[in-house]
Symmetry: C2
Subunit: 329 residues, 2 copies
Amino acid sequence: MVSGRIRIGIAGYGNLGRGVESAVAASADMTLVGVFTRRDPAALVPQRPDTAVFGWDALAGYEDEIDVLILCGGSKSDLPQQGPELAARFNTVDSFDTHARIPEYFAAVDAPARNAGRTALISTGWDPGLFSINRVYGEAILPVGETYTFWGRGVSQGHSDAVRRVPGVAAAVQYTLPSEVAMAKVRGGSRPELTTREKHTRECFVVLDTGADADVVREAIVTMPDYFDQYDTVVHFVDADTLARDHGGMPHGGFVIRSGSTGTGNVQTVEYSLALGSNPEFTASVLVAYARAVYRLNADGRIGAHTVYDVAPGLLSPKSPEQLRAELL
Amino acid sequence: MVSGRIRIGIAGYGNLGRGVESAVAASADMTLVGVFTRRDPAALVPQRPDTAVFGWDALAGYEDEIDVLILCGGSKSDLPQQGPELAARFNTVDSFDTHARIPEYFAAVDAPARNAGRTALISTGWDPGLFSINRVYGEAILPVGETYTFWGRGVSQGHSDAVRRVPGVAAAVQYTLPSEVAMAKVRGGSRPELTTREKHTRECFVVLDTGADADVVREAIVTMPDYFDQYDTVVHFVDADTLARDHGGMPHGGFVIRSGSTGTGNVQTVEYSLALGSNPEFTASVLVAYARAVYRLNADGRIGAHTVYDVAPGLLSPKSPEQLRAELL
């Protein structure tokens, strides 16, 4: 190990992989072995000139050179295959975020990791991830209460894609917005029951194809089943330059609020929120902090699949337990 | 163990002990063995009629009857003596909150706990405790950034006591208020350097002794060294009935904000906040959740002193790891 630093590999180089590249560079106790891509490595230009780029098959020679491999593929088709396969050969961290399939994915990663003496941390990032942690702390500390999760204001890729598929739409970005009214009710301690429509609204910025009818496009968007029909949706028509200039970022965020009561009815409110200038860069920063924890868990003999629920907060920090107690407790 | 429930003891019965009594009652997986008091147990009337009350010396017979003893004494004189002594005989949880002396207290508790095969969780609550956890998560995930802690709006017992000692003051309550202006700057991502005066203000509600001069009292308060001279302080004079009616509660709260940046300068903000109707009841609820974790840590052979940094979030929940992954991740 070069100068005692944790050696990180990046498997997959989209927005998340680029975020991991930046976050590793910002971590003095880590070094980046390189990016492994299924594309032609010669054609890939990394953000940082000193980043090494390898073909996917080259991973086969790096089992002893990488302390933690960060899987930056998608949850739909990449991770279900790559997660179990790579957990048999590397310590891994991933952001598998299909909530309903997490138990199945956990089992699929756990067995190969355990057999190989490797440690895999699945489903981290901010939701699942930091929001999940806050849901558990809130419920454990205030057992009498309700937990509310709100998302936004942020760009939803899935909903933006859905709008782009509407006939007459040349380009589009969709924002999910939490309802200020609903959040105020929750913060007030009344523990309201909230419908889907009451919790979030949706806002679309759309560039029309030449000759497309704005009213027809708007109607097609706001009535789209599952994606929009259960929400109040506002559609703005803009030109291509405005979309590129004002809506090219990937902001996101959200809120986890636990509203509970203790004793003879004292209202207690715990709120966790994120306001993210870049969703993929923040998610990547969470993955990198958990890579540090995975390295330590594996060194401690804690093999198999884990989630954020299994990781003590101190393991994420480059500081020693003594430092943490003296400086941050 | 009665029906598999975790058997809790309460050492000390002030506001915090009463909060623990309520929080244990709200936890289906716990049962309260009783309250142990240095006062005359016959003279102590517990909140809940079924709570058993014992003298302090009776603790000597309960080493095998109590799974976790929650220490509800104060940090100034009680815990420095009780913490090490009781950690040699029980698994313990405490809220030792003299930040500067935590390393020393940790060492004093660690040795006896370790020798006895017991587990002690020190310095939990909300600050130190939940706020500490959020300081570590924030710094580990966003290494380029600054962490800001604001307290309030809430009653400070230390400052209220200081006001009560001013000649001419019959009764008083002091609130610490976070500055909205300072918080807005922090949330804006500019990472300001903030002075003590800029971060918090202080507000006092004072009942005067008969014949006392309001201006003299106000001046004595706002110029009091350390307690008030570095802050902007507002003093309100009220009658005794108003003080009792409007200022008899123990609200508190605060904010931990990590303002960081990633990549090429995207601003990322993580905010954790508490709005507490009852400070002691909330602190007690945190202690009780950590008692669950201590019980599990000890069963797992993890002995000696620990802090919140050493405790994985899932250990606080009565739910199994499988349930947590399926329901809350």
